[in-house]
Amino acid sequence: MTMSEVQPPSLPTNSPKVSPTQYMHDRVRWRLSEALPWIVAVGAFWVFPNYLVLGTQMIIMIIFALSLDLILGYAGIVSLGHAAYFGVGAYTTGILSAHFGWNEPLSGLLMGGMVAGVFGFASGWLLLRYHGLALIMLTLATSIMLYEFANVAEVWTGGFDGLLGITIDPIFGIFESDLWGKTYYWYSLFVLFLVFLAVRRIVYSAFGRGLVGIRENTKRMHAIGSPVHQRLVTIYVISTIIAGFAGALFAQSTAYVTLDVLSFSRSGTVVIVLILGGVGRLYGAFIGSIIYMIIEDELSRISPEFWEFGLGLVLVLVVMFFRRGLLGAAEDAMKRIRGASS
């Protein structure tokens, strides 16, 4: 069973002579519907002024899920330890502020991403030679090892009690952080937009197609002379930098970092979010994060057991019946309606 494919605009069936160049151009072109998430995000600022803190966390989750989509959805690398890079980003930004007084937000964000990228390069270079279950276990063990390490390095990370004393300067020296999270909502949304532009550019590039090739048939990519390991490491580093950004944003917006940022449950959550929305389809990260966080917010208000049980049930149902995620299911439904009417 292959993973769901990026949906290009379908080739017009009545004119089979559309040139390949034209086809590639059409794939990349922005569609009108792609403006929708951004309109929603901007509109939400005025419609839900009391939920901006939750909204900021959603945006951070979307960035994190996008970073996973690059490796899981496009390159087919299954990782159960992606929180490692989220956590490294968060701790980098947090430690720079709490221990060195480096409170400037933009450079703090960049540093978070860069340090996560360095970790990503070191571990990716080593681990991406492995496949299947061994790779899953290696990513998992690496992230738990980092977790244990952060727990021991109490002097720097605050250990189990968390890292306190993070202060973040106003963004550009102008926009102060406020109680309702307005500033960080815009700030995170802006970062998300830039990250999204980059991710979209990557997946529609020739490099992105090469990754899909590796996902679908690694042996064949080797056979045609594609530098498989180099490409995997490249996308892994890009992905870990983005995960680092997400972590850094998390540290800045909450001004508090606990070991939870490195935990197995965070690695699991982001995989679940992506599967829920739809893997390998860019907007899956958006839908998945929003739905997940709304359900989490609602169900855990009733009781944590319900949340846990409900989450499990959703996962089982998604895997058994909606394997292509909510977006894929919506697409299938649309096709069926169209098929019935014509």
């Binding site: 299954v78 279950l133 063990a141 944590p304």
Partner: protein, 293 residues
């Protein structure tokens, strides 16, 4: 006696008891993963469920400890059969990722349901008298419960070894782990074989859960807290390998105990270092088939 020797003996003894617990729980996972290639993260949930069945039998119905463990084995094995047929079987040909997600979904459901019924705090049971005391070996005193766990562990290993190496069913399982399609083509019903091993493996995990109450403690999140450890034992030992699971359980059990003894705050660190080191050198584990994908 020199102090370091005494420390070494307690580490080995405690590590061995821990290793046996790991082995009893993980061995079923190893065989089912080797047989069907199914990444079953819900195995820890079977152990957790087994622990709670034992608690209910002992505290609710007043069944003594040893018969409780036996009944736990039977009930968990029986529960696992319909689950295997209805939920797992449709996904045997799916990707690793699908199997991981499905089974982690089952783990969450199990944790939610058990928390709802039993509450989040760890239950306790009254151990029989003969397991409460200490055993004096002349040079050092050991808790007798840990002796019991080590004993059960060795008994299981003997039974499993006998079942695997000396019976027809065992030979069929070995054949199916080695080469499933070849085994099928000479007329072995691998599906039925798998139901049997799955039920046995789950039952063993249930016993492990029951024994874990007095060693590491039981709570609903047992299913996920120790899951990584079970998976590590399986993967480091090599999928489908009995002696692999045994060796890995002993190495990891002792490394973990030693790590926590020498450096209490950071001791959990070592086990992951060992895991990564082993997997980097031998991605298929100690005794795994080459290139299990």
């Amino acid at each position: 006696m020199p102090q370091f020797l005494e420390a070494a003996i307690s580490i080995i003894f405690d590590g061995l008891a821990y290793a046996m617990l790991l082995f009893v729980i993980s061995v079923g996972l190893s065989i089912t993963m080797g047989l069907m290639g199914f990444v079953n993260l819900a195995h820890g949930a079977f152990a957790m469920a087994g622990g709670y069945v034992t608690v209910s039998l002992m505290n609710g119905l007043g069944v003594p400890f040893l018969p409780s463990l036996g009944l736990t084995f039977v009930s968990i094995a029986l529960i696992s059969i319909p689950l295997e047929r209805l939920v797992y079987a449709p996904l045997y040909k799916a990707t690793d990722l699908d199997q991981v997600l499905l089974s982690i979904g089952l783990v969450f459901m199990a944790i939610g349901a058990v928390t709802f019924v039993y509450g989040p705090s760890p239950p306790s049971v009254q151990m029989p008298e003969f397991l409460k005391g200490q055993i004096d070996l002349g040079f050092k005193v050991f808790p007798s419960y840990r002796f019991f766990v080590i004993l059960v562990g060795f008994l299981m290993i003997f039974l499993l070894w006998f079942g695997f190496e000396r019976t027809i069913i065992g030979a069929k399982i070995r054949a199916a782990v080695d080469n499933r399609s070849m085994a099928q083509s000479i007329g072995i019903n691998v599906d039925r074989l798998f139901i049997l091993t799955f039920a046995m493996g789950s039952g063993l995990a249930g016993i492990g859960g029951g024994m874990a109450i007095e060693i590491v403690g039981l709570s609903p999140t047992f299913a996920i807290n120790y899951l990584v450890l079970f998976l590590i034992v399986v993967v480091v030992g090599g999928l489908g390998s009995l002696r692999g699971a045994f060796l890995a359980a002993i190495v990891l059990g002792i490394v973990d105990t030693a790590g926590k003894y020498i450096w209490p705050e950071g001791g959990a660190f070592f086990i992951y270092v060992v895991t990564i080191a082993v997997l980097l050198v031998r991605p298929d584990g100690f005794f795994g088939k080459e290139h299990v994908q």
